[in-house]
Symmetry: C2
Subunit: 481 residues, 2 copies
C-alpha cells in the first residue's frame, strides 16, 4: 500500500550491500527475543538483536510479569502446594481451549521445572511466599498466586488445583525486573543490539530466509543472517485494521496491553512469504475486579440482568466473556457485607434498598435482576450455586440494601492483547501452509500462536514467550544453509 | 506436509509443458465460478473452468438457493413491498457486522437491481409471490421470503423492513435450478470445462500468477492463463484442521453445508503466495426451527434456563448464537397454543404440568426456568418483551402445561459453513498483506471474505458469489501481462 507498510519479502539478489552480518538475527528485544538471543548466544552463535524502541523490554516490561510455571517448583513446594506435570497438563488442556495445541502444552508442562531453574540462573529472584488475596501481582513481594482459576469451577474438578503464577521479587513492577534480568543476560552472553531499528521485511534466497531489511534513522539497512532469523516482534493489539479483520471484539478494549510496536508486522512479514497463522480471533482480556476477594460474594450480571459466569473464576475469563460474549455490558451486584471499593477505586454506582429499585435505577428490564437474585439466594441459602458453580466459600444470600459496580466499557478498564499468530513447532520453526518448516525462519512470543487457543491464564504469555523463545534461539543457531 | 496437500506455488520456469492454455482459468464451477466464467467469456475471452467433481454445481446446487437482492426488485414490487438501496445498505451494515466491509456492501446494494436482471437474463425464473410462513425455501414456488430478520429487532428499527430472499421458481430444489441455469449460461457463452480436475497450486512468473497445476486422473497437468486465474473453489467447512485453527465452534456443526471440495485449498494456495485473509472465525449456522411460525410464541433458553435472543429473528442468528455463544445447548419452551411438530419432525421431548416439573425433568437448575418464565409472562401479559424485544405479535404469556423441544447438538441439526477467506477488492482482485493486488489473481465466493464479517442472512452467500463472481471474471479477462 505504501513503502511504510510494505512487508513483501525482498530477494537477496536485490540486496547490494549487507550492513551487518550475524549468525542469528532476533527481531524484537522483549521477553521472547531476550530468551532467544541469550540461548542462541549461549551456543556460541554470533547474535544480533534488533529493537524498534530505544531499549529492551517490550510488552513484558510493562506487564505484571507473572510467569506461569508448575509441576512442583521450589516456590510451590515452599508454600506447601503439591503439583505435578500431569495436573498442570490437564488444567492447561482444559483452560487454554477449545482445541489447544496439545504438542505445545505437553512440552510446556514437561519443561516447566527446568524453565524455572533457567529463570533463576538468569538472576531472577522468586520469594517463596504465597498471596491468597489476588490473582494479579500482589502489593507485597509474594512470589506465588492463583492466576488462572485453578481452584474454581470447572478446573478444580479437572485437575488438582495449585497456584502456578510466579512473580519476581521486587517492590517495583515484576515485569520490569524480569526483563531487566533477561535483557542483561542476553547482552552478557554476547548478543549485540541495534535499537531504534524497525525490521520491515524478510530477505529470501531460494525460498530460505537469509536476512532482514529494516528502517533505522530514516534509512534502509540490510542485515544478513548466516543461520536464521527469529521473529519475536510482539502481537497486533496496536493495529486496529488487523483487529477488525481478525478479532473485532478487541477493537473496543480500552487499555491495550503492549507497546506501539505490537502492530503485527512480525506476523505479516512472515505471512507475506506463505507462513500459516492460527487463533487470530483469540485475545486475553483483563477486567480487574478483585482484590479485595470479598467482592466475589457478589454476582456478575449482564445487560439482561442475567448471570453469565462463576464469579470466583480467573478475572481474565470474566474479561473475555464480558467483552466477547456480553458486548462489554456487565455489572457486579453486591450487598453491604460483600462490598468494598476495589483496589483501583471502582466503587458502587448505584445503591438501593431493594432489588426492584436497583434494577429500575440501572434501567434493567423490570423483574430481571429480581428474578436472578431470587434464584441465586434460594440456592445460596444452602451454600450452592447450581447455575454457575461458584465455590461454596463465596456463596451466601445477598441481603438488601444492595448496590452495583458499573463494569461496562468506559467505567471499567478492559485490557486486551492478542493471542493469535504464526504457527510454529515446539522448536520454534515457522510453518508454511503445508505444515512444512520455512528454512531459516523461527519465531516465538506473541508473534506466534502459543499454548492458548482461546482460554488464558495470567503468566502464560511471558511463560511461553520465554520458554519457546529459548528453543527458537537454539534452533536458529543450529540451522544451516 | 505431503505431495497430496502441497499448496506451495510453482515457478513457471519449472513447468516444462503446458497441457492447456486459456485467457482466463476459473478454479471451481459453483455459483461464483459459473458467474465468473460466463462474464469473462462474454467479454470475448477464452475461458477454461476446472472442477474437482464430475460436474458443475458446487455448494450452491445443494443449498436452498436463496439469493439476497433488494432495492426494489420486480418481485418485491409485485408482492407489494417497498425497498430502497439505502434501506438495504443500512440493514446489511447492521446485520453483517461487526465491522463489515463497507465498500463491498455499498457495491452489493448499488448493483442489486442490475444483478436481479442479470439472473433473469440467464434464464432464471422468479415467481412474484411472497411466502410469510418461512425464512427458508417455501414448500411452494413462492419467489420471496424474509431471510434475515429484517422485520424483527434490532433491524426493524434500523431500516424499513423488506423481504429480500429471492428464490428461483421450481418444485425441486431452487439451488439446483439456479446452478443449472448458471452453468449452462457459462458453457453456452463458450467456457470450456475440465471436470474431475483438482487444482493444487498456482504457477508464478515474476510475482504474477500465470497458471495453475492440477491433479487429473492421477497425473499432474499444467494450465496456462494468459490473463488471469479466478479462484472460486469454495470455503473450508470440510477441513477440520482449518476449522480448529480458525473457528473451533464450527467443528461441532453436524450437518456441514457444502461439498467435500470445500476443504480450503483455494484459500491456502493463495495464502501460500502471500494473499491476505479476513473473518476466518466467521461461520453461518442454520438451526431450522420454523416453520410453523407459531413456534415463535415460545421462548428459547440455554443450559442455565436463561433466554438469550429474540425468538422472531432470523434462524441463522439463532444458530450462530447457539453454537458460538451457548455451546450448542439450547431448548425451545412452548405451551399447547404455540406448539406444533416442526417441518422437519422436531417434537417436544418433555411435556409437564408445571414449569417446576419441566425444569426438573430437563435437569435445569431448580428455579431457573421458572424465574425466566415468570419474568417473560409478566411482560408478555402486556405484549412486551423488554429483555430481547421480540415483536408484540409473538408475545403472549405461556400457559401450562408446557413442554420443551430439545435443540442441542445431536437432537437438532446445526448446519454451518464458513464465511472467512481471501481479502479481495470489489472488482475481485486478491490482495496481499500490504493491501496491494496480486497480479493475475482474482477470487470470489466462499474462497473470499464477502459482504459478511460475522452476521449473515440467507441468500448473501449465493448473492455475493454470483455478483462478485461476475466482476472477478471481467477483471481477469481484462488483466494483462
Amino acid at each position: 500500500m505504501s513503502e511504510h507498510t510494505d512487508v513483501t519479502p525482498c530477494d537477496a539478489a536485490d540486496v547490494t550491500h549487507w550492513d551487518e552480518t550475524a549468525d542469528v538475527i532476533v527481531v524484537g528485544f522483549g521477553a521472547a527475543g531476550s530468551a532467544a538471543a541469550f540461548s542462541a548466544a549461549a551456543t556460541g552463535a554470533q547474535v544480533l538483536v534488533t529493537e524498534r524502541a530505544g531499549g529492551p523490554g517490550g510488552a513484558a516490561a510493562l506487564a505484571e510479569g507473572i510467569v506461569y510455571l508448575g509441576g512442583g517448583t521450589p516456590v510451590q513446594k515452599a508454600c506447601g502446594f503439591e503439583d505435578s506435570v500431569d495436573d498442570m497438563y490437564r488444567y492447561l488442556m482444559a483452560a487454554c481451549g477449545p482445541d489447544p495445541d496439545e504438542t505445545k502444552i505437553a512440552r510446556y508442562c514437561a519443561e516447566s521445572l527446568g524453565h524455572f531453574d533457567w529463570l533463576v540462573a538468569r538472576g531472577i529472584p522468586f520469594d517463596p511466599t504465597f498471596c491468597a488475596e489476588t490473582s494479579m501481582a500482589p502489593s507485597g513481594t509474594e512470589g506465588l498466586v492463583y492466576s488462572g482459576g485453578e481452584d474454581a469451577y470447572p478446573f478444580n474438578a479437572i485437575a488438582r488445583p495449585a497456584p502456578r503464577g510466579h512473580l519476581a521479587k521486587t517492590e517495583r513492577a515484576t515485569g520490569w525486573l524480569l526483563m531487566h534480568h533477561l535483557a542483561t543476560a542476553a547482552t552478557e552472553a554476547g548478543a549485540a543490539v541495534l535499537t531504534d531499528t524497525r525490521v520491515d521485511r524478510l530477505v529470501l534466497a531460494d525460498g530460505r530466509v537469509v536476512g532482514v531489511q529494516a528502517q533505522r534513522f530514516g534509512g534502509t539497512i540490510s542485515l544478513r543472517a548466516r543461520h536464521g532469523v527469529v521473529l519475536t516482534a510482539g502481537g497486533f493489539i496496536f493495529n486496529d485494521d488487523m483487529l477488525r479483520r481478525h478479532c473485532p471484539p478487541l477493537v473496543r478494549g480500552t487499555f491495550k496491553v503492549g507497546t506501539e510496536g505490537d502492530d503485527g508486522r512480525g506476523i505479516r512479514m512472515a505471512q507475506a512469504m506463505g507462513a500459516a497463522v492460527r487463533n487470530m480471533y483469540a485475545g486475553a482480556v483483563s477486567l480487574p475486579i478483585t482484590p479485595p476477594r470479598t467482592l466475589i460474594h457478589g454476582i456478575l450480571v449482564n445487560g439482561h440482568g442475567q448471570r453469565f459466569i462463576n464469579e470466583d473464576t480467573y478475572m481474565g475469563r470474566v474479561g473475555q466473556a464480558a467483552l466477547y460474549e456480553q458486548d462489554g455490558e456487565v455489572y457486579l451486584i453486591v450487598d453491604e457485607a460483600s462490598y468494598e471499593v476495589n483496589w483501583m477505586g471502582l466503587a458502587a454506582s448505584w445503591v438501593c434498598e431493594t432489588a426492584e429499585q436497583l434494577e429500575s435505577e440501572m434501567r434493567l428490564p423490570a423483574g430481571s435482576l429480581q428474578a436472578t437474585l431470587d434464584v441465586y439466594n434460594r440456592h445460596a441459602a444452602r451454600g450452592e450455586d447450581p447455575l454457575f458453580h461458584k465455590g461454596p466459600a463465596w456463596v451466601r444470600p445477598l441481603v438488601p440494601p444492595i448496590g452495583a459496580v458499573d463494569l461496562r466499557i468506559g467505567p471499567a478498564p478492559y485490557a486486551p492483547f492478542t493471542l493469535g499468530g504464526l504457527e510454529t513447532t515446539v522448536d520454534g520453526a515457522v510453518l508454511d501452509l503445508d505444515g512444512d518448516p520455512i528454512p531459516g525462519l523461527f519465531a516465538a512470543g506473541r508473534t506466534t500462536a502459543g499454548v492458548c487457543s482461546f482460554g488464558y491464564a495470567s503468566g502464560l504469555s511471558i511463560g511461553d514467550s520465554t520458554m519457546f523463545g529459548r528453543f527458537a534461539g537454539v534452533s536458529a543457531a543450529a540451522s544451516s544453509l
